[in-house]
């Protein structure tokens, strides 16, 4: 993985030919509100550069976590990889092909689960499977649904509606739905952000277990240092916005399968953790200071 991201530019030889996802000098600018009417109502604003010249190469079968201060543009980056948001500058390549829109090669897990409330657990998964492959046979479809409900440990809850489930169970459905379409890459935007600490721990273990089974490429956003260290092969630390960049990419060498009790005993653990804390603290403090300064 390329580490030449401090200055944004990436030279030809640093581009990995085996990379599954290549993010090359990607910039996102949200256009400001212009025009006579907006000026009149005082709503005019200038363009906002959320992220600027971000580059990284992601190899197949790696678990990558993005961490950074709130509002730095993590979701923006992930949505661009998902194809939900247009890219202002640069390219995102998937297996060498530029991304032009969303597609079933990428499965997405949402922070707020985004389950259809009017569909049961099985129907939510079925909707995904049938959308991606409308001609699938009923037998194969039902087998996929059953397998994935089993995979996330929800057997017995097939006929329940999301409002009858706890938050943790809902996110299990969200994960099952994303995996049921057999994507090459799993994208997760703070998948456990809305859960209590205990449920969060359970689901992290589940993700670790499922990842051991499937070894899909995962790009996950998180705010939790421990979560990132437990799950990732690489941790991408982003600077604060506006014009956020990649500050540093950490390699997490711990062998798998990992376990939250034993992982802390590796000698490198505390050093990595301290480094991440330092980074997040520095960036977050800078954000706060800028906010206070801006108010004066």
């Amino acid at each position: 993985m390329s580490l030449a991201t401090m200055d944004g530019a990436i030279s030809e030889e640093q581009r990995s030919p085996s990379a599954q996802v290549s993010i090359r000098n990607v910039t996102k600018v949200f256009p400001g509100k212009k025009g006579f009417f907006n000026k009149l109502t005082g709503k005019a604003s200038s363009n906002f550069t959320a992220i600027e010249e971000i580059s990284m190469e992601i190899e197949p079968n790696t678990f990558v976590t993005i961490i950074g201060p709130s509002g730095c543009g993590k979701s923006t980056l992930l949505n661009m990889i998902a194809g939900l948001m247009p890219i202002t500058g640069g390219d995102i390549l998937l297996n060498g092909e530029p991304i032009t829109g969303p597609g079933p090669d990428r499965g997405m897990v949402f922070q707020n689960y985004a389950l259809m409330p009017w569909m049961t657990v099985a129907e939510n998964i079925r909707f995904a499977v049938e959308t991606v492959d409308p001609k699938i046979s009923a037998k194969r479809r039902d087998r996929i649904i059953k397998e994935h409900i089993q995979l996330v440990g929800l057997t017995g809850a097939e006929k329940k509606h999301p409002h009858e489930l706890s938050g943790g169970m809902r996110q299990r459905v969200g994960i099952a739905r994303a995996l049921a379409i057999n994507p090459q890459i799993l994208l997760m935007d703070e998948p456990f952000g809305a859960l209590d600490a205990l449920t969060r721990g359970f689901l992290q273990d589940e993700i670790e277990r499922i990842w051991e089974q499937q070894r899909k490429t995962v790009i996950m956003i998180t705010h939790s240092i421990e979560e990132a260290l437990l799950l990732s092969d690489r941790i991408v630390m982003m600077t604060r916005g506006p014009a956020a960049r990649v500050d540093e990419i950490l390699e997490i060498p711990f062998p798998r399968p990992r376990n939250r009790e034993t992982i802390e005993q590796y000698p490198a653990y505390s050093g990595l953790k301290a480094e991440m804390e330092r980074h997040l603290f520095r960036e977050t403090r800078a954000v706060e200071e800028a906010r206070i300064g801006g108010k004066k």
Binding site: P102, M108, W118
Partner: protein, 279 residues
């Protein structure tokens, strides 16, 4: 009842005690008590002439109510029809006009809600026509159709179209972006997204629009029928010409009960499509 009583009350297993203390039972008792007091006040007041001259007593009104509801279907000429016939006439007008309105309003609302351009283009019509009193259309309807039946249907149509249209468009335009993102990331076609995601997601709004429309249709039909010659509205108008107040009160009661029933059907539907979402 004090707080401590309330909390221990809920610990007592189901039994006679908890029945007497349950909220539903207490509310019902209060309702019956207030109804009794109201009827008593009415009876005494009417007998001792506290109200307008000719105001019927409660007992007389209830007697008439019993008579009309136990003999709903008789036919002694156009001005002497059983209240059941009149009710059916009103219900038929409402059903036809309301169904036509819904068949137009729901698809149009979906179309308007999906497309921001259509939203902007059609909004002026909606905003202009929505606040017009339904009865203002009456002369126009009579002039165009030259038929009281069609005019009645037309009035219902034109007045019950707006709430459904507005609620549908609002619901469709406001579908949670997460649902659309899910459909997008899966690569769902436009049609699949509309039928499998947008419409079910907007269904609570659509049904509450239909509920408001039904309420308005039921309000309007009575007023419109006073000028149309049959139906519950005409029944009231006719009894007013006869100056027989008990029957007017009976009709009011029947209209209220039917309205309540219709509203309850839609309340049930709203619940059925909510799936844990409130509203």
């Amino acid at each position: 009842m004090t707080v401590s009583e309330a909390s221990t009350g809920s610990l007592i297993p189901e039994g006679r005690d908890s029945l007497l203390k349950s909220e539903g039972f207490r509310a019902f008792a209060l309702f019956m008590l207030s109804l009794g007091l109201f009827l008593l006040f009415w009876e005494v007041g009417a007998r001792s002439g506290w109200f307008a001259k000719g105001m019927p007593t409660a007992s007389k009104t209830l007697e008439e109510f019993w008579w009309w509801t136990t003999n709903p279907f008789f036919r002694n000429g156009p001005n002497d029809l059983g209240i059941g016939w009149n009710l059916l006439v009103s219900l038929r007008r409402v059903a036809i006009g309301y169904l036509l309105a819904s068949v137009v309003a729901v698809p149009l609302g979906i179309l308007i809600g999906i497309s921001p351009i259509a939203y902007k283009a059609f909004n002026p019509y909606v905003q202009l026509l929505k606040p017009v009193s339904p009865l203002a259309w009456l002369p126009l309807g009579l002039y165009i159709f030259r038929d009281s039946e069609l005019t009645g249907v037309f009035i219902i149509f034109i007045s019950s179209i707006w709430p459904t249209l507005i609620n549908t468009a609002f619901g469709v335009a406001g579908v949670d972006k997460d649902y659309l993102d899910v459909a997008n990331t899966l690569g769902a076609s436009r049609m699949r997204t509309i039928f499998k995601v947008i419409i079910p997601a907007a269904l609570p709004n659509i049904v509450s629009g239909l509920r408001v429309s039904m309420g308005i249709a039921w309000l309007v039909i009575v007023a419109a029928e006073m000028l149309l010659g049959t139906g519950l509205g005409y029944f009231i108008w006719n009894e007013w010409n006869n100056l027989y107040i008990p029957n007017i009160l009976v009709a009011i009661l029947v209209i209220g009960l039917v309205g309540l029933l219709l509203d309850n059907i839609f309340a049930f539907l709203e619940k059925a499509v909510a799936f844990g979402r409130n509203s």
